[in-house]
Symmetry: C2
Subunit: 368 residues, 2 copies
DNA sequence: TTGAAAGCGCTAACAT
DNA sequence: ATGTTAGCGCTTTCAA
């Protein structure tokens, strides 16, 4: 790991100036064939790799896009993830045999943000951008996001807790920023969101119209824009069907988890006909809690989710849900960024993508 | 999007020198409280964000790690992914309702590389590194990987086709490089791999000892280190059991896909007792082909995979497989990189991680 | 076609 | 505690 060779080293070895070396890499055809060969040989011999930092500095932009996630999507730092000890390189280690793996990994990954990220990655690569991804816990997010900003030409951010709004607005005065799944507003950011309201309305309508249900309970954390819109869609559907419209959902909070909600409901003499959950994650947790209380889904009560994560296809019964076009969202995010980078004077754009109700088993629709 | 403010602008506005501004951000406690306040206010007013390029250049390192994937894990660029048209921001769009989604997305994502990547991401964030991820098709991979190298302090690479070996060796002379799932060899790179041989041996042994099978067919693409080791483990188990050891697997190639293998096998008068597949992906494809020919798994023939991807839990019957500790691999990759960055003089390390046989339904073990 | 030279924005001695 | 100054490696006019 010798000191990194620079243009100077290459120039010296090739017997040319640094400008020629630079030119050889940037605009090869502007350099005489012969010279180019010599420079390339020197570069190769020296293991020369241009420094992106220097280039970015001189050039004014970095050629990279950034994607930032906040603590809400990070697992607790319990360190358990790295807890696999390496084995000897040559030994014939005993290989454990287990009956199915009871692990729940599929419930934590991939979440919908990860599928959106996948879309971002694919689009970046196709366009030749490098992608810098970062994340941090709430405490240091302002610092860390700033750290990312310094090295990218555009930034995408996933939902975050309040308090970062100002930081993002400031950032958006420097580089384009697009916020995913946040309330589109006039904050200088571009926005990509989905049809939460319509999706939840259609889902609810399915339960009411196709399954003849009348007693539905909306369950979920209500601290995001998506959640509020979904609840609004739920209410709209009930209203349209002439059913009683609840003022509040069964709101989950740190002190009131799914387990508690289930216990509460079971304490009443009748079960609702369906739990309409704000997300697949909640729905899956709920089904688990229900199973522990010997309540059968969908026979005794239906359960629906929202998002369309893979986990919903793993669980039994398979989860009926509203599917977000996650990868497409990622593509759109990059589209916007690239567009805004090309035209920094333009104004922020907001785009909404369509969703789809996906009927599986948990609502009572039979297995296809 | 005005021109980005710099230390000079902040310094001028705060009435201090640029060194003080820099100091305020790098070592706040070395600056008088009062001065710090002034500088911070000026920075805030100006929307100042330090340039990572400049910092990296001055400082000598970037604070970022890189992760590179090659074309084998990229989907065909058919552009179909972005094909979701935005809908009007205010309209009440019609929401389609479909019975289950026939889409196969879960088979393409997350693959095992994505779960390893997830581990890398988590570990990077915990350690305060930014993560730059890149990918490219075979044609331009040498260029693109070099582009990444210029902006990171350490690089991890997923399996690649030959031809990149030289490039990587050269790179490893500049920054630490760790190769995932490649043959550990004395090429200057660090290596992280798994117990392919032991895992496949144990899997095969389960089939032979617990299910009493004697006629097993190994199926898979054989163009990777992992694949070769797995086949070796398969043979070792047969040999140990006193069964006939095939010289060659049913090798898949571009011209000989799973469909063909199934057709070939069906043309014989007897089916093997089990298809032992080199990966979950092959196993899932195979089960699909089998289903199309009305062959029932596991009743008529068992199928096993290798990797432990989520898709194996989605398919019916659930796939019996050998599970790699994917996230842990990612953590180990970062561990190594960080270690090697701290001690550039040290030598490359190679680490092997243990696997686990996971019994589900496709081998004939009943549902738990 | 190639070279000389002036930055790009920041850090870290060193000086004050 | 703060200011001066010399780079860090590269790109890009402008000259030759």
């Amino acid at each position: 790991m010798a000191k990194a060779p620079t243009v100077y080293d290459v120039a010296e070895r090739a017997g040319v100036s640094i400008a020629t070396v630079s030119m050889t890499f940037r605009r090869p055809h502007k350099v005489k064939e012969e010279t180019r060969k010599i420079v390339e040989a020197a570069a190769e011999a020296l293991n020369y790799v241009p420094s992106a930092s220097a280039r970015g500095l001189a050039h004014g932009h970095t050629g990279a896009l950034g994607l930032y996630s906040f603590d809400i999507f990070l697992p607790e730092p319990d360190g358990s993830l790295g807890g696999v000890a390496p084995i000897s390189t040559r030994s014939r280690a005993k290989v454990p045999v287990v009956r199915d793996d009871g692990d729940d990994d599929y419930r934590r990954f991939p979440l919908y943000v990860h599928e959106v990220q996948r879309g971002v990655e694919l689009e970046c690569w196709q366009r030749g951008y490098a992608l810098l991804i970062g994340a941090a816990s709430r405490a240091d997010s302002a610092t860390r996001v700033t750290d990312i900003v310094g090295r990218v030409d555009g930034l995408a951010v996933f939902p975050h807790h309040s308090g970062l709004g100002d930081v993002l607005e400031r950032i958006s005065r420097r580089i384009p920023v697009v916020a995913v799944s946040q309330r589109p507003q006039d904050d200088g950011l571009s926005h990509v969101s989905i049809d939460n309201r319509g999706g939840m309305r259609a889902m609810t309508q399915h339960l009411v119209a196709d399954h003849g249900m009348r007693d539905l309970l909306f369950v979920g954390y209500m601290d995001t824009f998506d959640a509020q819109e979904r609840f609004a869609g739920f209410k709209a559907a009930l209203r349209a069907a002439g059913l009683r419209v609840p003022a509040k959902p069964a709101e989950l909070t740190v002190g009131n988890d799914v387990e508690t909600v289930v216990a509460d409901v079971l304490a009443r003499d009748t079960l609702p006909e369906a739990f309409v959950c704000v997300s697949d994650e909640v729905a899956i947790d709920l089904m688990k809690a229900l199973a522990e209380h010997q309540v059968r889904v969908p026979e005794q009560v239906a359960v629906t989710g929202f998002d369309g994560v893979v986990a919903g296809r793993v669980v039994r019964p398979a989860l009926t849900t509203v599917r977000q076009p996650m990868q497409a969202m990622g593509h759109v995010v990059v589209d916007i960024l690239v567009e805004r980078i090309a035209d920094p004077a333009g104004s922020p754009v907001t785009r909404r993508l369509p969703v789809q109700v996906v009927l599986r088993e948990s609502c009572g629709c039979s297995r296809p």
